[in-house]
């Protein structure tokens, strides 16, 4: 019985390792098939590889592919640092304090449905196309999900946790810091996760509309020059980096809230 059960789990393990590889293989095969039939739509594998190595031997705007990736990531990190600190603060305040909610809640509701990309023209008109306006756009895109999730998390803390705090004599600040905020941490973290994927999307859009460096700039450059291989190399990079970011965040969540798995 016991050995049978373990055997089954090892088979299952193998299956769950094979399945993602299989799906990846299928995509590659589908790509190769379409490429063979319609070569003008997709660059072939050799072309992709050559374009990839060329980004190192012949850097675009004096920066190789890694440099462009780092330029995008740098904008994301700076914007996220502000979005997380200000977003959590703002979310806690409107989730916890009724006066604050009444004052700023409706303004926030007005800004909330505006897609971050819609800010791009306004921000470019105001601030030009330097580093600051790009970071600002990414900040807007990542600030909003942090606020929404934090506020929800704070508002939905079960009454009984607050009762426990009150019975044991907690004052308002202690209720917030010892009971409410930690209870809301999983929700806050959900906001952080959304903010990262949103920031990564928005930074590329911002770069596509005018930047020397950054993965988004590479996409636009490839597009303008009819360099399909460059566009594909950039897009594959975008996908891989996004997946790595999501993976890192998953690990980070387990470190930050070990009770929540």
């Amino acid at each position: 019985m016991f050995s049978n059960a373990t055997k089954r789990t090892t088979t299952q393990k193998i299956i769950y390792i094979i399945l993602p590889i299989l799906s990846l293989l299928l995509i590659v095969m589908a790509y190769a098939f379409v490429q063979r039939k319609l070569p003008m739509l997709l660059p072939d594998a050799a072309g992709l590889w050559n374009r990839f190595t060329k980004t190192f031997t012949n850097p675009i705007k004096n920066v190789n592919l890694i440099g462009h990736i780092l330029a995008s990531l740098r904008r994301v990190m700076i914007a996220l640092a502000f979005a997380w600190s200000l977003g959590i603060l703002f979310g806690v305040l409107i989730g916890w304090n009724r006066v604050f909610k009444a004052l700023f809640g409706s303004i926030f509701e007005l800004f909330r449905p505006i897609p971050p990309i819609a800010w791009i023209p306004i921000i470019i008109m105001w601030f030009g196309i330097g580093e600051f306006p790009k970071i600002l756009i990414v900040f807007i895109g990542s600030f909003i999900p942090v606020v929404i999730n934090t506020e929800d998390g704070i508002r939905l803390v079960e009454k009984e946790y607050i009762d426990v705090g009150r019975v044991f004599g907690a004052n308002r600040t202690q209720l917030l810091m010892e009971f409410v905020v930690p209870t809301a941490l999983p929700a806050i973290f959900a906001g952080i996760r959304t903010s990262v994927s949103s920031a990564w999307t928005v930074v590329l859009a911002a770069e596509m509309l005018g930047a020397d460096h950054g993965v988004g700039a590479l996409v636009t450059r490839g597009w303008n020059a009819g360099d399909m291989a460059l566009v594909f190399v950039s897009i594959i990079c975008i996908g891989i980096i996004g997946a790595i970011l999501a993976y890192v965040l998953n690990k980070l969540e387990k470190v930050v809230s070990p009770w929540n798995n």
Binding site: V167, G169, E178, P182, T183, W259
Partner: protein, 252 residues
């Protein structure tokens, strides 16, 4: 004559108002709590027991009557009152130690001192070795012990327990009943223990206040003079149990 020491509950009532009308959960409940007593409040199903307790502890507003503590009217939270909650309500993000020391942390007691007190109660409830565990790693009975240790750490004069064993299986429940008596005998606090289980009430209480079903009113008061440890199948025990049982409203 008014009693100056301890707790006196007079005509305590609670009516909830809503758009659909009003609903009385607790009506005219009066009793006096004796010092050092193990008082059991017994009531069927959802008879408003929790509402009554929450009013006594001060987290629910009363709509009628008054509560006197040491001769003064008690409104709101009072540091002499501690509570063990019905659902476990431990902080999932805190370890056993951090949960138990929490009441002292809120009062600004130094870390060294509160750790010492918390350790004492962790040992008293038999959880040594689990100080660093998180609640989700503990069994139901162990979680409830954490809740009890936490309430004791707050050093309350009156300890209120709201159906603390309601979610435990029968075996664990019997074990915890003996545990709670052992701790009570070691610490001698005044206890108000709420349950819907007649056997548990007879096993634990110095006195049982039987409530009626919705609204909760005092139906009868039974002093239990049996010596402890009580035998749940002794004739005298069964006689008292039957008397109370016959007088209890059936919960639907």
């Amino acid at each position: 004559m008014e009693q100056l020491n301890g707790l006196v509950v007079e005509n305590l009532s609670k009516t909830f108002y809503s758009s659909e009308g009003y609903f009385t959960a607790v009506e005219d409940v009066s009793f006096t709590l004796n010092d050092g007593e193990f008082l059991v409040i017994l009531g069927p199903g959802r008879s408003g027991k929790t509402v009554l307790l929450n009013m006594i502890v001060g987290i629910e507003e009363k709509t009628g009557g008054r509560i006197l503590y040491n001769g003064k009217e008690k409104t709101g939270i009072h540091p002499d009152f501690g509570m063990v909650f019905q659902s476990l309500s431990l902080m999932p993000f805190k370890t056993v130690m951090e949960n138990v020391e929490l009441p002292l942390k809120l009062r600004g007691v130094s870390k060294k001192e509160r750790r010492k007190t918390a350790q004492h109660y962790i040992e008293l409830v038999g959880l040594n070795g689990f100080e660093k565990s998180y609640p989700h790693e503990l069994s139901g009975g162990m979680k409830q012990r954490v809740g009890i240790a936490r309430a004791y750490t707050a050093n309350p004069k009156v300890l209120i327990m709201d159906e603390p064993f309601g979610q435990l299986d029968a075996q664990t429940r019997y074990a915890m009943q003996n545990e709670i008596l052992r701790i009570w005998e070691a610490e001698r606090r005044t206890v108000i223990f709420v349950t819907n289980n007649i056997e548990e009430a007879c096993y634990l209480g110095d006195r049982i206040i039987l409530l009626s079903d919705c609204p909760a009113k005092v139906k009868a008061v039974y002093p239990i003079d049996l010596p402890r440890p009580r035998n749940m199948v002794a004739q005298e025990f069964l006689r008292i149990r039957t008397t109370i049982s016959d007088n209890t409203d059936l919960a639907i």
